[in-house]
């Protein structure tokens, strides 16, 4: 739970695929093969499978959530699953594959370090696979795995797999994804999921599970740009601690050490880190994603929403922002609309001054004459805020580069935004 080890022992990944590509079966298989599925859950699933007249136990039912979905036989929202192996702990954000659910995919992807995109070996690259890869790239998920499923249905044929792989590599090379892997498997039989498939001796790469266990994630963090959004000021003002003043928050980038000179944004005041505390004990260094409390040498005015950086490497401070957004609600976005905006630990109000283009997620094409963004649309906008936002581009830092828009009348979260360098 502390420092480097814990964060590289935990892998958060999302899964995406079109309906019937076998996503639920694959997740069920991972839970089953890692012995995460418990006896009572298995008994329940066996029972339901039998009642529905399924021919074999349907592992997909292990991942079924709410009743409405069970009734409709589809998954409708993001659900989270957990499993662990001796090497790592895993959190799966299971997102549905329907055309209209870009919104959920973006939600699942926002916290993921890896995304598994399922492909049906019989169909190869379909429109939705492109969409999934595109979203993974847009959300800057560093690692993507194309799981070519249902290999049993194509006779475990190498040529089929290689053709799909080549097609995807060509497409993926135009996207911004650091690391791409291709794994031929069968969620139904378990081949190449947790155990190597004897049926595919031509495949020499890792099984899916081994890949998940060993993919190198510790270097994904930004250790260069010091960014500390102040979340909470601790001031006991008690007899025991009359002068205690600590700035608590989660490190969003860089390495902070006692003695470092720092600047407080937006005020621009400079001071020095006197000491760093983690859960009451002093520590020598703090880096993302540690939650710590900083003490500063000077009695400068610092409050929630301020950002602590190094004087020679500051976040940008601006009131006009360019961003890619995903629109998440029925009522469309249009220019002149006003929203509440949350960025790091700061709320402000924003007006949409320009809609530059809508992005067609299937082709990557920019639709220049768009006048609004509808549910599940992606687009590039310009915002003007009432107070300064202290940020980096999303490409540089996923924490200081992301924001949400909230409808001030309904309080609904209506957009996910990724800032572009100004």
């Amino acid at each position: 739970m502390s420092g480097v080890d814990a964060s590289s022992e935990l892998l958060r990944f999302s899964t995406a695929g079109s309906v019937d590509d076998g996503k639920s079966t694959l997740i069920g298989r991972l839970l089953y093969d890692t012995k995460t599925a418990f006896e009572d859950q298995l008994a329940h699933v066996e029972d339901v499978s039998r009642r529905r007249g399924d021919e074999r136990t349907n592992l997909a039912l292990l991942t079924d959530g709410l009743r409405a979905e069970r009734e409709q036989g589809i998954t409708i929202d993001v659900a989270y699953r957990y499993f662990a192996t001796p090497r790592r702990k895993f959190i799966i954000a299971d997102t549905p594959g329907h055309i209209q659910y870009t919104r959920n995919m973006v939600t699942g992807a926002s916290t993921a370090s890896l995304s598994i995109i399922l492909v049906d070996a019989r169909h190869g690259l379909v429109e939705q696979s492109r969409r999934h890869a595109f979203i993974a790239s847009l959300l800057r998920i560093p690692h993507v795995v194309f799981a070519v499923n249902k290999m049993d249905l194509v006779g475990w044929d190498e040529a089929t797999f290689r053709r799909i792989e080549a097609e995807f590599r060509d497409f993926a090379s135009r996207l911004d994804i650091q690391d791409v892997a291709f794994i031929p498997l069968s969620a139904l039989t378990g081949a190449n999921v947790a155990t190597r498939a004897a049926e595919m001796p031509w495949y020499h790469g890792p099984t899916l599970l081994y890949h998940l266990e060993t993919v190198h994630i510790s270097s994904d963090r930004n250790l260069i740009d010091v960014r500390f959004p102040v979340q909470w000021v601790i001031r006991p003002q008690s007899d025991e601690h009359p002068d205690y003043r600590g700035y608590a928050g989660q490190v969003a980038g860089g390495v902070l050490k006692p003695g470092d000179e720092v600047v407080i944004l937006p005020s621009g005041r400079t001071t020095t880190i006197a000491s760093i505390e983690q859960a009451g004990a002093p520590i020598d260094a703090a880096f993302a994603p540690m939650s710590v409390t900083l003490h500063l040498t000077d009695d400068v005015d610092v409050s929630r929403g301020d950002m602590i950086c190094r004087p020679n490497n500051r976040a940008q401070v601006a009131q006009v922002l360019d961003a890619m957004i995903c629109w998440m609600t029925d009522k469309p976005l249009a220019t002149k609309n006003r929203y509440a905006l949350k960025h790091t630990t700061r709320w402000t109000r924003a007006i949409v001054t320009e809609l530059m283009y809508r992005l067609d997620v299937n082709t990557g094409h920019r639709v220049q004459d768009a006048t609004q963004l509808e549910l599940n649309d992606l687009g590039r906008i310009r915002l003007r805020t009432t107070t300064p936002v202290i940020y980096d581009s999303y490409a540089r830092n996923r924490t200081t580069g992301s924001f949400i828009l909230v409808d001030e009348a309904t309080n609904e979260t209506v957009a996910a935004g990724m800032l572009v360098a100004g």
Binding site: M1, F38, E39, D40, Q41, H44, D64, G65, L66, R67, A68, I76, D77, V78, A79, Y80, R81, Y82, A84, K89, I91, R103, N104, V106, T107, S110, T111, Q231, W232, I234, R235, P236, Q237, S238, E240, H241, Y244, A248, G249, Q250, A279, G280, S291, R304, M328, A340, K342, H343, T345, R398, T399, S402, F403, I404, V406, N411, E412, T413, A416
Partner: protein
């Protein structure tokens, strides 16, 4: 927790005396010490708790020096807000929802921190970390706010409230490992001890004054421990020899039955039991 404390004016922390809420208290210490917590603790007391839980609760609250508010199900019954169930399977579990919602309203709390985890039960897998409840305290699983990055939206209209689940992404084993790492004291009933029990529907229950035995049921003494702590009427025990944290962790790691499936009668009634209760405003 800090994010909630910053976003809402009147939060509270639901403290049951169970291990998950004990872990919440440790997290709150880490988030806010050396200052006091920016919220009181609330215990929904069914009157059917294990005496060990209540004793532990009082000790715990005294050593933290924080404020505890007790919301009593008995008081809700006495005021006619709810009606006591009858019969051998009577439980106050479901009545807690009204007591909790009444307490939130009476103290004007706009957010309640709870120890629920997504791995506990299937309906919980889709629960948000900041989960919105309407003015009737109800959860609408189909109309939840998307939760992006770590940007929590705590905005509310009057009368609505939030349930906030900091342990959403923890598993049962994570909780135990954390308790061990942090050396957090727990009520004794989490560890193996000899106790008078009776068997019902394939589960072991503690003999207690609130349950009438069926003619076929008999009290005997067994060595047991509890994996969750709820009411004496609906929390089952498991046979166990695990007397230390290490033993418990070894047992949990090897367990083949989920925590709630093994020991909670309340979830077994119908396939979607938890989902129904959560919609109504249960924890």
């Amino acid at each position: 927790m800090r994010e909630l404390a910053a976003e809402r004016e009147r939060p509270c922390l639901l403290f049951s005396g169970g291990k998950d809420s004990i872990v919440l208290l440790r997290l709150a210490e880490k988030a806010f010490r050396p200052a006091r917590f920016p919220f009181p603790l609330v215990h929904v007391d069914t009157g059917h708790n294990f005496p060990e839980t209540i004793e532990f609760r009082d000790r715990c609250v005294a050593s933290l020096g924080e404020r505890l508010i007790i919301a009593s199900v008995q008081a809700s019954i006495d005021r006619g807000r709810v009606t006591e169930e009858t019969g051998p399977r009577a439980s106050r579990n479901r009545l807690q929802t009204t007591t909790l919602l009444d307490a939130l309203e009476a103290h004007e709390f706009d957010a309640a921190i709870g120890g629920a985890r997504r791995d506990e039960e299937r309906a919980r897998a889709k629960e948000r970390i900041f989960s919105h409840r309407d003015e009737f305290g109800q959860w609408d699983p189909k109309n939840q706010r998307p939760e992006l990055w770590a940007l929590y939206n705590g905005r509310l209209k009057r009368g609505e409230h939030l349930r906030v689940f900091p342990l959403s992404n923890w598993t049962e084993l994570d909780v135990w490992e954390y308790i061990q790492l942090e050396q957090i004291p727990l009520p004794d009933i989490y560890f193996a001890h000899r106790r008078e029990v009776f068997e019902r529907d394939g589960m072991l229950y503690a003999a207690n004054p609130f349950v009438k035995l069926l003619p076929s049921e008999q009290i005997r003494v067994e060595q047991v421990r509890f994996r969750t702590i709820g009411d004496m009427t609906c929390t089952g025990a498991i046979r166990s020899a695990a007397t230390t944290l290490d033993d418990v962790i070894a047992e949990v790691a090897a367990a083949r039955i989920t925590e709630r499936g093994a020991t909670r009668a309340d979830d077994r009634f119908t396939e979607a039991a938890m989902e129904d209760r959560k919609r109504e405003g249960y924890f």
